[in-house]
Amino acid sequence: MGENIFLNIASWIRGLLDSIGVPLLASDIIMMIVKASAIIVFISLNVIWLVLMERKISAYIQCRIGPNRVGPKGTLQTVADVIKLMTKEFLIPRSADKVIYLLAPLVVFAPPTLAFAVVPWGDGMAAIDMGIGVFYLIAVTSLSTIIFWMGAWGSGNKYSLVGGMRVVAQMVSYELPLVLALLGVIMITGTLNMSEIVEAQKNVWFIFTQPLAFLIYFIAGVSEANRTPFDLVEAESEIIAGPYTEYSGMGYAMFMLTEYASVLVISIMCTIMFLGGWLAPFGWTFLPSWFWFFLKVYVMIFLFMWIRWTYPRIRVDQLMGFGWKVLVPLSLANIFVTGIGMYVYRSIGW
């Protein structure tokens, strides 16, 4: 039931366009626009939901109830907050570099949005089934470093500057174990196409064959998404809000929403690379593939939030030390072990 609901909608739109005699190129373009807007709507809805979810989970962990006034059970709280932030004044500090300062919140949402293009939401449900999907995704997500740095530099604030320096140092050094962890999976599957990687997990998910890679990827992912215990970029108790210190109103909201979008990206990557993507566990295929996909993604997001509201924050030198002295060697070792394993398996002809 509902297995092909999105595919059916897509083919219905395409059929409609064909039937009214739209040329093929135009219908392709229209389909792209439909898919892009669907992705943007999807991200926005998800992010709005994630903000609420984070607040609810943090409240429940902290013996509170959390937002419960706006809308039924507080579900419209984030909507109200976004409206509030939109109506607030966008302050520009006198010492700010205006162009960069204003540009950063405009473009900050782009990298996560771009990343969603190649994500296979369900069986055959990628907007673009790209042959180098994993590579594209890693490349695109690492762009956000520059945008955070833009915001930090443009603010003309020392707290922002410190936060910006931390962004660059942290993201650059955690990009490495992140990619190296994925390399183990890619070595086994021999492809960079996400759909094929998911298909390759038909028998066993890679979390079981590559547990170390999963752990490294998860830790590096927490760091990439700037979440506790690696939320040095914001580090509320040290540098106020890092790069976002001077931003107000919608500018701040964009940064905040991006943070959740990147959590979503990391969780989706985890799901695809290690948790079998849309594949149903135990052959429970009575639920549609996209349902399983979202269930896994949300389990990962819950894990992120659970960790965030339990752990304190690590220090900046410890963060770098941990990244370079622990995660990178471990991920290299993982690649080495994976290679040996593959060689052994191949030689015994498995």
Binding site: Y60, I61, C63, R64
Partner: protein
């Protein structure tokens, strides 16, 4: 083993997540206040003998009392508390021998304007059965005005109000 503390922390937060919540949804439900709660002041003006003990006990000179002599007794005409300066320490209530001044459980004393914060607990004319007596007391009040701690301006104000 490294990581044991991390797992323990996750266990604790998981347990708390499922536990009973402690917050109270304020306007809908309220925690019962204890009997000794320091809320808004209440004055039983009939019990008050205008002895000025509370006004003198106050560290911040919050209490302003106006009184006139009716017969042989002091009679309270006006009792104003400048709540904006009050620390709610309870020394005035403690000093009251007549049990006239008390704390209530009203804690909602917010006002939009500073001028409205001031709390007038009693504002009543002196009983005027004996005009001659009253006239005498008025003079006396004027004479006395500087002597009691507070109402230097208040005494003349009362006189002005009466004439």
């Amino acid at each position: 083993m490294f990581g044991k503390g991390l797992i323990k922390g996750l266990q604790i937060t998981w347990r708390e997540m499922l536990a009973q919540k402690v917050t109270v949804q304020y306007p809908d439900e309220q925690i019962p206040l204890p009997d000794r709660y320091h809320g808004r002041f209440e004055l039983d003006a009939d019990k008050c003998i205008a002895c000025m003990l509370c006004a003198n006990a106050c560290p911040n000179k919050v209490i302003q009392i106006e009184r006139t002599r009716v017969g042989k007794k002091q009679y309270l005409t006006k009792y104003v508390m400048r709540i904006e300066y009050c620390m709610f320490c309870g020394l005035c209530v403690e000093s009251c021998n007549q049990d006239a001044l008390r704390f209530s459980k009203v804690f909602n004393m917010n006002q939009y304007f500073r001028s409205r914060v001031r709390l007038t607990l009693a504002d009543r004319p002196a009983p005027a059965e004996e005009p001659a007596e009253e006239a005498g007391s008025e003079q006396e009040a004027k004479k006395k005005a500087p002597a009691p701690k507070k109402p230097a301006g208040a005494g003349s104000e009362a006189a002005a109000g009466k004439s």
